[in-house]
Symmetry: C2
Subunit: 151 residues, 2 copies
């Protein structure tokens, strides 16, 4: 049995990981530009997306929903509190935990911020057909699932 050693040169243009990084940076830059007038940064927007859907969560809840490390969330929440987007009250049932609540300021941003994010997604996907965009989302979801399961 003959074995062919293909010169599988690792190319940046063919690497899914390289492209994922590049695409994510471009998405983040576009979103940052669009939500900056609202006084928001991308990671803050992600937290708000969860909180707009339902207030009163702990840091731990947010860590689970957004799949970032606890320390990352702690720093993001500290910046959001500093910027007047959230408040944190001690939990009555667990003295270790703090309940995160939206401020009126943060509630007022929901419409504009979601519209900005939608505009960024639309611009990014404008070169794809609707079917292709759906397929890209489906493929990304499956790749995320694979990497979450096995480190």
């Amino acid at each position: 049995m003959q074995v062919f050693f293909v010169t599988m040169t690792f190319e940046t243009g063919n690497s899914a990981g390289f492209l994922a990084n590049h695409m994510a940076r471009l998405f983040a830059a576009g979103l940052a530009r669009r939500i900056q007038p609202l006084g928001l940064a991308p990671a803050q927007f992600m937290v708000l997306l969860v909180l707009w859907d339902g207030d009163g969560l702990t840091q731990r809840d947010l860590v689970e929903r957004l799949d970032v490390e606890q320390a990352t969330m702690a720093n993001t929440l500290a910046r959001m509190e500093r910027d007047g987007l959230i408040t944190r009250q001690p939990s009555p049932t667990d003295k270790r935990a703090r309940i995160v609540r939206l401020t009126d300021k943060a509630r007022a941003l929901e419409g504009d911020a979601k519209a900005a994010a939608q505009a960024q997604n639309n611009a990014a996907l404008s070169g794809l057909s609707a079917a292709e965009a759906d397929q890209l989302v489906d493929l990304m979801r499956r790749v995320v699932g694979t990497m979450q399961r096995r480190a």
Copy 2:
């Protein structure tokens, strides 16, 4: 003509940008884990990918090839010099520029590092057929191209 205002609630699970960020973080974490034994970090690996293909570039060349900001590259190159992966010699033709060259240490890492990156890509895409993986790469390339053209 009837216009339907669909309640297009912005959902994290349907957002290409959200998924791109999540996928890129998982790719980076997996790559970081695999190349850490080689003493490399993801951004350093990206620079090495370019330099293994041809030495003697300036910071500006690397900025263009990897599409990061000049300041980002300056910091990454400083860390790579600190870690003994590159040297920087003043350009003989332009006293502002510095020529980046690989050290023997960096040259010796090429095979192992590329294998690690390939392994990460393979693991990430293991839930997709070959055709689906090709399509994902193609779609990401097109989305990157769209965002590069129009901010």
